[in-house]
């Protein structure tokens, strides 16, 4: 081959390489292999569950709401789901279809599994909606977020992460996206309870077959409660914090360093966060990475598991001179101290249900919140501390 021909071949080879992996195909929801693996399901069982879910919830191009879940139809509008789903296109000026793929899917994935094309390079990983667990909310720890909670995340974004603000979208478009996210969450939770049902109630290895009676039983006893939890989310809102007292910061400092609250154990005596505060402790994982880890350890679907995102250990938040991901205003910070952060090792120090007593009183929690805010307003005191910071850095992200 002449030199000129070789040079000409270079761009052609590059074009061929670039085209690889870009072929269009019918888009499908990906099964939750991680969960299926940890439950010991077979590939046939996973496939049969996906078939049932397609019948009930439709596909990424044509979503559907199960008729026998009337509360879900009250919660979500089929027209909005249709507008959010499918490929990006317009048939009327200014009306865009495929909103989810346009704005969300590149990070959160078409299935809402947090495994979109850009996920690998993001820290933290994009949220996996399928577990129905959301961090930034105003409700009790185990409750679903309210519609307004999800709207606030869409409106403000999440500081320090790749999650942007969608303030430039119309209210109507944000509402459409919110509903589609709830749809993906409900579908994902339905998938998980079906997997649990098959693991608990079905013969090993036998594919799921749903007749009318079983369908009614599943909707009433397994999937219905998921929808109820979403529909009743607003009833589980945490009350507003009490007004901070004059000695709130001093009390908060005392509690922060006490064994009762134990904040310093993870966030460090000076609020430096990270694993520096946890030296010698084994790594801890959030819900999503713990599930990933459990799926891998099961040894099932090994090939698929190897293609999953690397497992990352949780990192307690640095408090000094930082804006937390969930926002730094007193009320939202109070809620996170009170209820912890759902899905993460950050525990609740308040009552987990209305009317119950928690380890700390609301006044004490408000004091810790005030102290945390005072730390956030100060410059990080440990810059230049070298060894402990460097040692901690290697423990923050732990690909397995």
């Amino acid at each position: 081959m002449s030199r000129v021909s070789r040079i000409a071949a270079l761009p052609l080879a590059a074009l061929a390489a670039a085209l690889a992996g870009c072929q269009s195909s019918e888009v499908e929801f990906e099964p939750n292999i991680t969960s299926a693996a940890s439950l010991g399901l077979s590939a046939e069982q996973v496939g049969s569950i996906e078939g049932v879910l397609v019948e009930w919830f439709g596909t990424p191009d044509a979503p559907r709401l199960p008729e026998r879940l009337p509360r879900l139809a009250e919660l979500l509008d089929a027209g909005r789901l249709e507008q959010a789903a499918g490929r990006v296109e317009s048939h009327t000026p200014g009306v865009t279809h495929g909103l989810y793929r346009r704005h969300c899917a590149r990070c959160h994935g078409v299935s809402g599994d947090g495994r979109g094309p850009t996920a690998l390079y993001q820290a933290p990983y994009p949220r996996d909606f399928r577990y129905g667990v959301f961090k930034w909310k105003s409700t009790y720890r185990d409750a679903k977020p309210t519609a307004d909670d999800l709207h606030q995340v869409l409106l403000r974004g999440v500081p320090g992460t790749a999650m942007p603000s969608f303030a430039l979208l119309t209210d109507d478009e944000r509402e459409t996206l919110r509903q589609y996210v709830v749809y993906l969450a409900v579908r994902g939770e339905a998938e998980r309870v079906l997997q649990e049902f098959v693991a608990d109630e079905w013969a090993p290895g036998q594919p799921l077959v749903v007749d009318d009676a079983l369908r009614d039983e599943l909707f009433a006893g397994w999937i219905g409660p998921i929808v109820d939890a979403w529909a009743d989310a607003a009833q589980n809102s945490l009350p507003a914090p009490p007004a901070p007292s004059a000695d709130a910061v001093a009390l908060g400092r005392e509690l922060y360093h006490s064994e009762r609250a134990g904040c310093y154990k993870c966030h460090g005596p000076e609020g430096q966060g990270g694993a520096a505060a946890q030296a010698g402790e084994p790594p801890d994982y959030d819900l999503w990475n713990a599930a990933r880890l459990a799926g891998r350890r099961s040894g099932r679907f090994a090939e698929l598991s190897r293609n999953d995102l690397p497992v990352r250990a949780s990192r307690p938040r640095e408090l000094t001179a930082e804006t937390p991901h969930g926002g730094a205003d007193h009320e939202s910070l109070y809620r996170r101290v009170h209820q912890g952060v759902a899905g993460t090792p950050m525990p609740a120090v308040g009552a987990l249900r209305p009317g119950e007593a928690g380890p700390l009183t609301d006044r004490e929690i408000a004091a810790i919140t005030a102290y945390a805010q005072s730390l956030m307003a100060t410059r990080s005191p440990h810059k230049g501390d070298g060894p402990s910071r460097s040692a901690s850095a290697s423990n923050r992200s732990r690909p397995l």
Binding site: C22, A119, R156, L169
Partner: protein, 353 residues
């Protein structure tokens, strides 16, 4: 047979028209980049018309005061039509005034390219196919570079310009085009694509960025260490500046869209030089969220795309000049002289065709 003076005048016309075409094409690349950045490519469902209207008869007030997607997509079509008309005019000028047949056909090649690019853009809309969008995005800069090549090819060299001693000038545009194509592929990874696919595209883009940077540095060195005409040195210097800007824009585009990856967060959160530099430049605290579709993100990402196309155009023009000097050397020494090649830029005015 035209007189020598008349031929000189007519060639200048084509050169000026080539400049006009080239200058009109770069904004078109910008608008195309804006469409991809804001994912507005499917704002109009039909082609070649717009919502059933003839392209030029679509109500201007609906377009101009309408939603952004429609504004930028229909605007791209109108602008592209304008560039197409300029190209047709360039062909007419070439056929009327340019005596060198290869240059007339080169101008006609631009017309073929711009029509093909338009059809590709139309098919992308009709089929709603991201792969075609990626091809459209990688061929657009090729057309822009082609217009830059026309500018360089129609330039009349100054008397006594030094000849090129060696090298492979065409390797430069080839390398940059590979990088442009990788960038287009990265921007068009489908939403249901694997994160490993995206990672491979990112890594290939980064490696190729290193190769292009090294190649442009070598080009700069060569332009200053060997005798070279002023135009060639200017192009080499502009290419070098373009690479520096492109690297900064690349980092900016990533941070604007995805913020910092985990390893970078650790670096800026640590106690080393990176952290000190970050704190000095950006300040302490968490980076706030970007605004999806905001001007900061949109312009940074689009500027990275358009600047990449500009780099391709610059090195292509540089390659045309360098190649023409090599041919001139061959002609002078007789070592590689071929009748057609000897006509490349130094055909005496007034020759017949």
């Amino acid at each position: 047979m035209p007189s020598p003076q008349a031929t000189t005048d007519r060639s200048r016309w084509l050169h000026a028209w080539a400049w006009f075409l080239c200058c009109a094409t770069w904004p078109l690349v910008w608008i195309g980049g804006l469409i991809t950045t804001t994912d507005a490519g499917m704002a109009v469902p039909d082609w070649p018309g717009t919502y059933g209207y003839n392209l030029f008869l679509y109500p201007w007030s609906t377009w101009f005061f309408g939603p952004w997607d429609l504004f930028v997509e229909h605007g791209h079509r109108l602008f592209a039509s304008g560039v197409g008309l300029i190209t047709i005019a360039a062909v007419a000028v070439a056929w009327r005034s340019e005596p060198r047949s290869w240059l007339r056909w080169m101008t006609a090649g631009a017309l073929v390219l711009v029509i093909g690019q338009g059809v590709l853009g139309g098919l992308r809309v009709i089929l709603n196919e991201r792969l075609l969008a990626m091809l459209h995005g990688s061929i657009g800069p090729v057309f822009f570079a082609y217009t830059a090549a026309l500018v360089a090819a129609t330039r009349r060299p100054a008397p006594g310009e030094p000849a090129l001693a060696g090298g492979m000038p065409w390797l430069m545009p080839a390398l940059v085009w590979v990088q442009v194509t990788l960038g287009a592929a990265l921007r068009h990874v489908p939403e249901d694509g694997s994160f490993w696919t995206f990672a491979q595209h990112v890594q290939a883009h980064l490696w190729q960025a290193g190769i292009v940077t090294a190649a442009v540095a070598a080009m700069l060195l060569a332009a200053w260490r060997r005798p070279a005409p002023r135009a060639e040195r200017l192009l080499a210097a502009a290419g070098g500046l373009c690479v520096v800007v492109q690297l900064l824009l690349g980092v900016g585009a990533w941070v604007a869209k995805y913020r910092l990856p985990g390893w970078a967060q650790q670096a800026v959160d640590g106690d080393g030089l990176v952290a000190a530099g970050w704190e000095a430049a950006i300040g302490p605290g968490t980076i706030g969220p970007s605004t999806a579709g905001g001007w900061g993100e949109t312009l940074t990402v689009t500027a990275h795309t358009a600047n990449g196309a500009l780099l391709l155009a610059l090195v292509t023009a540089w390659a045309v000049l360098a190649a023409s000097r090599r041919r001139s050397l061959g002609e002078a020494t007789g070592a590689t002289a071929q009748p057609k090649e000897s006509q490349f830029l130094h055909e005496p005015p007034g020759s017949t065709h």
